[in-house]
Amino acid sequence: MNKVSKVFQPFSVGFIIITACVAIIFVLVASLLIATFATFRTGINDAINIQTRELSTQIVYNYEASIASIIGTSNTIQADIDGFDSIGSEAFSEYLTQIVRLSSDIIKVSIYDYESQVAIASSEESDIHTSTIGANDSWFFEALEDPTVHVFSTPYAEIGSGEYRVNVGRRIRYQGGARTGVLLIEISFQSFIDLVDKSNLGEGGHVMIIDSYYNVVYTSMPEQETVREGLELVSEIILGSRSAVLGGYSMAVNVDTLSNTKWRICVFINIDQLVEIEQTFLLTTILVSSIVLIIGVILLTVVARGITRPMKQLELAMRKVEKSDYFRMEEVELVASREVKALTGRFNRMMRKIGELMDHVISEQNAQRKSELKALQNQINPHFLYNTLDSILWLIENERNKDAAEMLVALARLFRIGISNDSMVISVSEEMEHVRNYLLIQNIRYAGSFEYSFDIEPVAAEIVTLKLILQPIVENCIYHGLKNKIDKGKIIIKAYIDGDHLLLSVSDNGYGMRQERIDSLYSSFEDKVVNNSVGLKNIYQRVMIYYGGNAGMVIESVLDEGTTITIKQKIT
């Protein structure tokens, strides 16, 4: 099962369902189609076989009956012959005439003596003692050769009437079995031809009689091409039946023997109609199957969509949750099947639970962060205090009391803002005031080695911002950007509004930073560990803790020209 699910892994549920079901439907429809068609085909082939066999058997039986009646006549003559005193007698001639009269097929009956090869009896008196056997009368010699068979000659046209006749020869014994001769029965072949009702065989259908050497004895369709094609086919079939195309028609061909002769009879029956039925059936079945398949695919697509769409929506909702940095719950409402609805219900419930948990965590974290924030705010560099006090002391010792006083006042103000208020936020103007005091102190300390200026939009001054965020940046400027600088340093502090954002920026004209340095600063910001370092990271973390995604810090720097650090916060 693991393997199976691995195979399906890259595909969507909808795709798998559709593919599987389409495959099942396809196999089902295809096997049904094949089975139906095979059954039908067998059925139709059986029908063709039965029909053609029936028809051709009927024809064969007709011929055989006809032949049998002639053989019956010959047997009767053999049986009766010894009842006459002499076969030369008039009574016997009368008997033969009677036989001819009774049978419509028989034209003439004669008996030829074996030794003299002369007719010694005949239904036609003029033949007696005059008609002799010629070299072409092979029936005579063949009949003598094999006493057990009747020899049928190939049909020939009678010189007088042009009527087709066949000679049937058969050895006969007479005078009590003492003498041997050949009985000749001349039959009209026309009756043979008339036996076949050609309309039954369809267009192009015909009958052909051949001998064992594939010479045509008779054909009802004497066109050369038909005969040639027919013979070719029959020589392949030899005996039995087959369907084939002949002269542009679909034909069922049946080759059978004709009893009591060495002939074979070939019956060609037009089965175009049946073949057509088969083709129509095949087409219809394929059409119906295709329609079923198409409907199936459409239905399945709809069903699969019905199943997968809500799932996709659910997935989208989940993704939204996942994307938002700040966890925000959105209830998912879907029109879907029961299972998916239950799933979304569960999902919503789970999300609610997670939401609650998140709220809990956030409030806990906020509390923690507040205390952290406080701690960060309260980190006043002890060195700064010490240095400032040292500077004041130095000023007093040099009797620069005015400067000392100024510095002391600035220090006092600095501290008042820093320590006094419990609130974490102050107005921009207060924050600026704090920075100004700081700069004042530092300027005195560094004997005016840098200049500074403020550029504050009046609107911005009233906006509330986080306490003590600018001072560390300015401190950074002084220590890293301006210290040891030969030219006079310059620091510009700005506060302005851009859209719904408040921007506070500190620019210096110091050494600037390389891009790598800036990158490493940014990446150090993302280090989520809250540490107590004083500096940019401290500011960044505080801003982030307080404003979340609604604030940011941008560092822009050009080497040897200066650095600008901007804090951007959304005005709430």
Binding site: A79, P147, T148, S212, D256, S259, K262
Partner: protein
């Protein structure tokens, strides 16, 4: 999970194994017996004898043509197309044999004809085509010999010469017009009688299509015409002789409890079927020439074995005439030696 896939593989392997078995495996060979008619006792007995002895590794079918060559042709073609390995054919019309041979040779299926001899040109030149049968000439002569034994030289004036003219007045019950056995048995028995010095008068030749019912009717008409003068009835087979006897018993001409030579006239036949032998025992049929179906069948079975196993025909235990013909000689059976032929 693994078990499932293993069982699946095993299942498909099982079906794969089955496939060649369900098809035409090499293990068993298929042969088919064709008989011209169900009604012929001799053929039925021969068929029973043969089919009981077909080796177990050969599957066989027996088909009855119902006396129609057309039906038999269909049966033959169907079995050739179904992949038969050998055909044993008792043809309805012996003239059809050349077409049958042509078709089976084209499909490479060996053919053994029996009982009805195909025309020679149908067999000559074709491999694995044979005919097994009695030699009809010799059987006809044996019929004459059997009568000669009974009538002896002193026929004239004997109890058998009913009209005391010294000539044997006889009627012939002929099996079938055109059947080589019927024609040749008749020809040769008459010729042999002449040869043995008897004077013979053939009163009539009646066709009775080898069967008892037709012979019953034929005998009725013969008896009505020649009742007083018939001295001998030569039947081409036992069934027809029995048909004649049926009529003669019914008409009260023949009586049970007499010896055959004490009946008003003598009936002889050919075949030696069980019913025929029984009639000899009852004194109704004088004698018959054993158309040795056992030895003929044995020859056919031997041919089947030799052909299917492609054996060397140099060691074939029966004499093969003209490469294709196996003639089995018969025996004269009368009451005197009847015991040798009954049972076993």
């Amino acid at each position: 999970m693994k078990k499932k896939s293993i069982s699946l593989i095993l299942l498909s392997a099982f079906f794969l194994l089955l496939m060649p078995l369900s098809g035409c495996g090499q293990g068993s060979r298929e042969i088919a017996f064709f008989k011209y008619s169900e009604a012929d006792t001799f053929i039925a007995e021969m068929m029973a004898y043969m089919t009981a002895r077909v080796p177990e590794d050969i599957n066989f079918a027996v088909l009855d043509a119902g006396n129609s060559q057309s039906v038999q042709n269909q049966q033959i073609v169907e079995l050739i197309e179904a992949g038969s390995d050998l055909l044993v054919i008792n043809a309805v019309d012996r003239l059809a044999s050349s077409a049958i041979v042509a078709r089976s040779v084209a499909d490479g299926v060996p053919v053994i004809f029996f009982n009805r001899e195909p025309l020679e040109d149908a067999l000559i030149g074709n491999d694995n085509v044979f005919y097994v049968g009695a030699d009809p000439d010799s059987m006809g002569r044996m019929q004459a010999d059997m009568v000669a034994e009974l009538f002896t030289e002193n026929f004239a004036g004997s109890s058998f010469d009913r009209n005391d003219d010294g000539i044997i007045q006889l009627v012939i019950l002929k099996g079938e017009q055109g059947h080589q056995d019927a024609e040749r048995r008749t020809d040769h028995s008459i010729a042999r009688l002449f040869e043995l010095g008897f004077e013979v008068e053939v009163l009539a030749i009646e066709l009775a299509d080898w069967n008892r019912q037709d012979a019953f009717e034929a005998m009725r008409s013969l008896y009505e015409r020649y009742g007083d003068v018939i001295e001998l009835v030569i039947s081409n087979n036992d069934d027809m002789a029995l048909g004649a006897i049926d009529y003669l018993l019914e008409a009260g001409v023949f009586k049970e409890g007499r010896a055959a030579h004490e009946q008003p006239f003598i009936i002889i036949s050919v075949d030696g079927t069980e019913v025929g032998l029984e009639a000899i025992g009852r004194g109704l049929l004088y004698g018959t020439v054993n158309n040795d179906l056992r030895r003929q069948s044995d020859a056919i079975l031997m041919l089947i074995d030799f052909i299917l196993h492609d054996r060397d025909f140099d060691s074939f235990p029966f004499e093969i005439t003209r490469d294709h013909y196996i003639y089995i000689d018969g025996d004269i059976i009368t009451l005197a030696n009847l015991a040798d032929f009954i049972g076993g």
